[in-house]
Amino acid sequence: MSDFSGMEDLLQDFLQEAHDLLSDVDNKLVDLEKTPDDKGLLNDIFRGFHTVKGGAGFLNATELVTLCHLTENLFDRLRNAELELTAELMDVIMDATKGVREMFGELGQGVQPQPADARVIAALQGALNGELPTASVAPPAVEPPAVQMSPSSSVPEGEPDWASLQEAITGEPVKAAQGELITRAEAEPAKPSAAAAPVVAAGKDAAPSPFGRRASDRPASTASNSRRAEERGRENTIRVDTSRLDQVLNLSGEIGLTKNRLTSLRADILAGKSDSETLHALDQAVSQLDLLVSDLQNSVMKTRMQPIGRLFQKYPRIARDLARQLGKDVELVLAGEETEVDKTMIEDLADPLIHLIRNAVDHGVEMPDERAAAGKPAKSLVRLEARQEGDHIVLIIADDGKGMSAERIRAKAVDKGLISEEEANTLDERQSLNLIFLPGFSTKTQISDVSGRGVGMDVVKTNIQKLNGSVEIRSEPGKGSVFLISLPLTLAILPVLLVLLGDQPFALPLSLVREILPIDQQRVQEVGGKETLVVRGEVLPVISLAKLLGWPADRSPEYGVFMQTAERSFILGVDSFAGRDDAVIKSLEDFRPKGVAGVTTLSNGQIVLILDMKELLADFSQHGDAGMAIRNFEFS
């Protein structure tokens, strides 16, 4: 049972906002390490915890209130220069932040948070009492004693008449012995049980959110060893700038008007009117509709776009923690945070980017002594940048570390039995670097607990390809490495190549297509019973699409599509081409045949299957040869 029945909406709003706030705090903490005296930063962080505390109070999340309250007090002391920010204190603060995040995770699952780790609480209280070994320069425990609360008559000269002020402002006589928490005490009785009531009611009364209810939030967990399981649901709501929604509304209104115009024209034409004026009006209305619809499509797409900064903002903290763990000095520099990317894509990019950043900090960047020996500055820079280039989004993860040696990568791949020595010798620089994307490749013999989490670079590449993107590596030994990720602007529209088998068109994702070539049957060689073709020195298997689909292969394919997936390159044999198109993908939710990613409609109304090459090929290689696939088809 949820501890929050009746106020799920409120809880989800709180979590979403509080998550953003905490990520911001995380980044400010990283900045604070560089400039520990920055008053503005201290203030902002103080306010972050303060705000979370305030919201948590309304959710009766007392443990979260306690933790935030202590941390906030710590920052209050820091900003008043009553405490000094030491590395030890920073660790306490980081632990507290982690604790807050874990509590968000629990709230996200609809349960009241458990009390924070007693050690964290003790460390915070210790720090507030100036008990950290190297922390305090301030007098201990400055919390003003709540004594002099006696009747207002005994107010010393010069001191404001606190009790009467209190009375004036709260409208109630000051009760004795309530110390400084008078108004708090007044609210207190309502706190544990009754306070739930109004908020519950508020939750129910709330106007239903136009986007429906969030099924789950996504706790942005940076803590890998979280003491409590955190569910990683997907956010299925989105925050959209109202001006963008207004634009959608505006355009749909305009389309409505144009539709009315068309309806009236249709009536005219059906009534036999076909003079040039009517036809001209029809032509105009249709062109206008054309324009409006494409504007609308763009606007709707824009509502799904989110600044990638929301994703980026949690990385500086990850990089910082990791660097510290490894004894390195690394700064993650962000650029282009305002670049907008499709929301689904942002979610799916989170893991690959974390992996690449970990990789850069762990493998790319050298230890401080190595850097010193190489004459580099002790602090290494890892740059994470996003920008839009035409209809693509480009993400760059660059480090100024030791770079990668093509030769060593080749040797490693041969060593691991991933490629043969002969193959290795034919590879150029770029191809060699790409070997790190092969499953089972890891440049370090010893897997560190940092980036070697069982997922390799192959997963990064596969995930990027799932988004119809590509990854490219550039590296210069001694200078550093750059990973370039290129992604389409949106997932809703998929550029496809339309190929024909007989009269039947099929769509292939264009991102996998390298080139198109005619298949000269005389140049096709049989190697081990399989057809192959040599393209610029590369031996590629020829796989006929007809065979893949289990169609009778009564004639040889005339054209080949040179395709490249994460696992392999091959030539797909087809009869002919029908062109390229921007497909709007309709998924086949309930009925999804194997190897079909979805369907799209051509301008002439014909329905075309979009092929999922990976699935088709998985089936194909599983059975070893094409003949098997056909037999399978015939018997099923």
Binding site: E17, T51, P160, G171, E186, A187
Partner: protein
């Protein structure tokens, strides 16, 4: 006296969840004419636009905090008559004193219930009704 349900409120808080909570509590009390502002500076702009009859503001906000907002309201001839209810997570003596000295009409500590809010509002309405 029964407060006018059409009283126009401005709720000022940088945390939108909190604005929503306050808005919902006000709605529960029958006040539906509510606008929101994200910080003191934005609030001031909206207030100068006119039409508001009641300000409910958080203390701790970026750009312009609640206390500065309150002080500015009291120093502005066209606004100084406005009732201002301060909301804060703190019930520290020095905060209450500062708020009172700046001319706050009321002071309420988070978390609070609709009942508590209603009490505070009624007291303020009474005070202003008498004036």
């Amino acid at each position: 006296m029964a407060a006018d349900p059409k009283t126009r409120f401005l709720v000022v808080d940088d945390f939108s969840t909190m604005r929503r909570i306050v808005r919902n509590l006000l709605k529960e009390l029958g006040f539906t004419n509510v606008d929101e502002a994200e910080d003191g500076a934005i609030a001031l702009q909206k207030l100068q636009g006119g039409g508001f009859e009641f300000v409910v503001t958080d203390w701790n906000m970026p750009n312009m905090d609640g206390l500065t907002l309150l002080q500015t309201i009291r120093a502005t001839p066209t606004l100084k008559h406005l009732p201002v209810l301060m909301i804060t997570a703190e019930a520290k003596k020095e905060n209450i004193i500062a708020a009172a000295q700046a001319g706050a009409s009321g002071y309420i500590v988070k978390p609070f219930t609709a009942g508590t809010l209603s009490e505070k509002l009624n007291k303020i309405f009474e005070k202003y009704g008498q004036a």
